[in-house]
């Protein structure tokens, strides 16, 4: 279990106050309030349909909350370009789309798809790949990567802009057991970073125990928030994660 650290500066990187979301008459989330401090790794857990993905989309600025406020570094999401790195669930790519790992990473750096990658951009992409121990993947086509390799490249993509907050959406879902173990090591490394804050949706007890300093249990609203050691005694949370100890996310 990851132990919470005492940091010299623990200013909040992400703040949610009374956040709610409804689609018409259908309410997804109500009154979610919590903070993620610099260097902190928060795991968002909850059953399917609990509103975790909706919450992530609002944090990323892809969706507006119906009520409440979300602040990333004191500003609304979308007003802090490059401050948030995003690692999606494992995506499968069209085998015919010609895209190399470096191009994917540079696309995030530029905010558009590169026609030609400059030396400076390649160096930055390589530095990000080195951070994720994925430098050997640089020139590979995305469709040819394994699940674990794909997520490694997506983490490099998220880190290339030197973000202050990384948002991960079930990164181990669909990744085989060996790839998942490597991925957990990488996530643990991110978790140990004093500068980077992270929010990760997960269903995996292994992922939670290797990374989380805080846990937020969401089920339509914030049911519980605190240290993993405190929350694992929470009946519903224990039951939820109990079913996902070996099979990773999803």
């Amino acid at each position: 279990m990851v132990q919470p650290r005492i940091h010299a500066s623990r200013e909040p990187v992400l703040q949610l106050r009374g956040v709610g979301k409804a689609f018409g008459d259908r309410r997804i989330l109500t009154d979610v309030t919590f903070e993620v401090l610099r260097g902190e790794f928060l795991c968002l857990v909850g059953p399917n349909g609990a509103g975790k993905s909706t919450l992530l989309k609002m944090i990323l600025g892809l969706m507006e909350p119906t009520e409440g406020t979300i602040l990333v570094l004191g500003k609304p999401p979308g007003k802090t370009p490059g401050a948030i790195g995003y690692v999606p669930q494992r995506k499968s790519f069209d085998r015919t789309f010609p895209a190399t790992c470096v191009e994917l990473i540079v696309a995030n750096l530029r905010g558009s798809w590169p026609v030609v990658v400059t030396k400076q951009e390649r160096d930055k992409a390589m530095a990000a790949l080195v951070r994720t121990k994925g430098e050997h993947l640089a020139g590979r086509q995305l469709y040819a990567l394994s699940g674990g390799e794909t997520q490694r490249v997506f983490i490099a993509r998220a880190l290339v802009t030197d973000p202050q907050l990384v948002v991960l959406d079930e990164p181990a879902a669909g990744v085989d057991i060996r790839g998942r173990e490597d991925l957990m090591e990488l996530l643990h490394h991110i978790s140990a970073d004093d500068y980077l804050a992270a929010v990760m949706v997960t269903h995996s007890l292994m992922a939670l125990s290797r990374t989380a300093e805080k846990v937020a249990y969401i089920d339509g609203t914030l049911q519980a928030f605190g240290l993993p050691s405190e929350l694992l005694g929470h009946g519903k949370l224990a039951a939820l994660l109990g079913g996902h100890t070996e099979d990773g996310d999803g």
Binding site: G61, P88, T96, F97, P98, R110, G111, V115
Partner: protein, 283 residues
């Protein structure tokens, strides 16, 4: 050997006009193919039929004594409106893209049939819009195609890297601050314009292949997305030119010869590159 070029103005118009629309279709075709929008191309081609039929019914050129004001000038806004409507229905989540295309496609064709039947004049010239014709491309069409090609090159030049990012992954593009919805509408509008202008060369029935075959051939050749786009344009322009010359020699509608030429190019590329491509995709 080249008397078709030196002697006949209609052939020069057809060849230059065909090369221009072939190039534009192939350019947009890469984005259409990679986004899986082939059915949308088909739908817009059928919408072009409705627009052309409305243009023939209104007969604005004769009505206002302006020879250049052909049915295309009615078909372009008609087709752009249909494209925008399909985009709106899709983006609002009212219906899936397939459903939206299916509805607008059949309504446009139904309107086209209605316009043809209530038109008092005989509809002989409709055949050239359905199957394509060497004689249908006039000098004014070449000028319009050249103007549109320049505009599309300018717009795509300015937006290509963003269009390519959306083509790769819409969600990631949106997160990078790209206005995905606005660029979707822009692509739809460009597709509608190019499809209508291509109708004279290859006809309503075959115009969607004009979008797909050069891009599919270029995809077999491999390379980066940008390289694929350049190759697609070269294939489109070459296929269009060779097909139009065949049409002249064997005296059949140009749509058939252009598309068959492009299909032959695709088959030859598949034979040469197909094995390697399939091997590359198998692991």
């Amino acid at each position: 050997m080249f008397e078709w070029w030196t002697k006949y103005e209609f052939m020069r118009n057809a060849i230059v006009g065909g090369a221009l629309v072939g190039g534009m279709c192939s350019l947009l075709g890469v984005l259409v193919l990679q986004r899986g929008l082939a059915f949308l191309g088909e739908g817009l081609a059928h919408a072009a039929f409705g627009g052309v039929a409305l243009g023939l019914l209104l007969d604005l050129g004769v009505r206002f004594h302006m020879d250049w004001l052909g049915p295309v000038w009615v078909a372009v806004p008609f087709c752009v409106c249909v494209a925008m409507a399909i985009g709106w229905v899709r983006n609002r989540g009212v219906a899936t893209e397939g459903t939206a295309v299916g509805i607008f496609f059949s309504v446009s064709v139904a309107l086209g049939i209605l316009f043809v039947f209530i038109r008092e004049k005989p509809s002989g010239d409709l055949e050239s819009y359905l199957f394509g014709s060497l004689l249908a491309v006039r000098r004014v069409d070449v000028f319009v195609s050249a103007g549109l090609a320049a505009l599309i090159l300018l717009v795509l030049g300015a937006t290509w890297t963003k269009m390519a990012y959306i083509t790769f992954d819409r969600e990631l593009a949106k997160l990078s601050g790209i206005n995905v919805e606005a660029l979707d509408y822009l692509l739809l509008a460009m597709m509608a314009c190019v499809i209508v202008l291509s109708v004279k060369t290859v006809g309503v029935i075959l115009v969607s292949s004009y979008l797909i075959i050069p891009a599919a051939t270029a995809r077999l050749m491999g390379g980066s997305l940008f390289g694929m786009t350049v190759k697609s344009v070269i294939v489109g322009v070459l296929g269009s030119t060779v097909g139009l010359v065949f049409s002249y020699y064997i005296n059949v509608p140009s749509g058939a010869t252009v598309i068959l030429t492009l299909a032959a190019g695709f088959s030859a590329t598949l034979l040469v590159r197909g094995g390697a491509a399939l091997q590359g995709h198998s692991h």
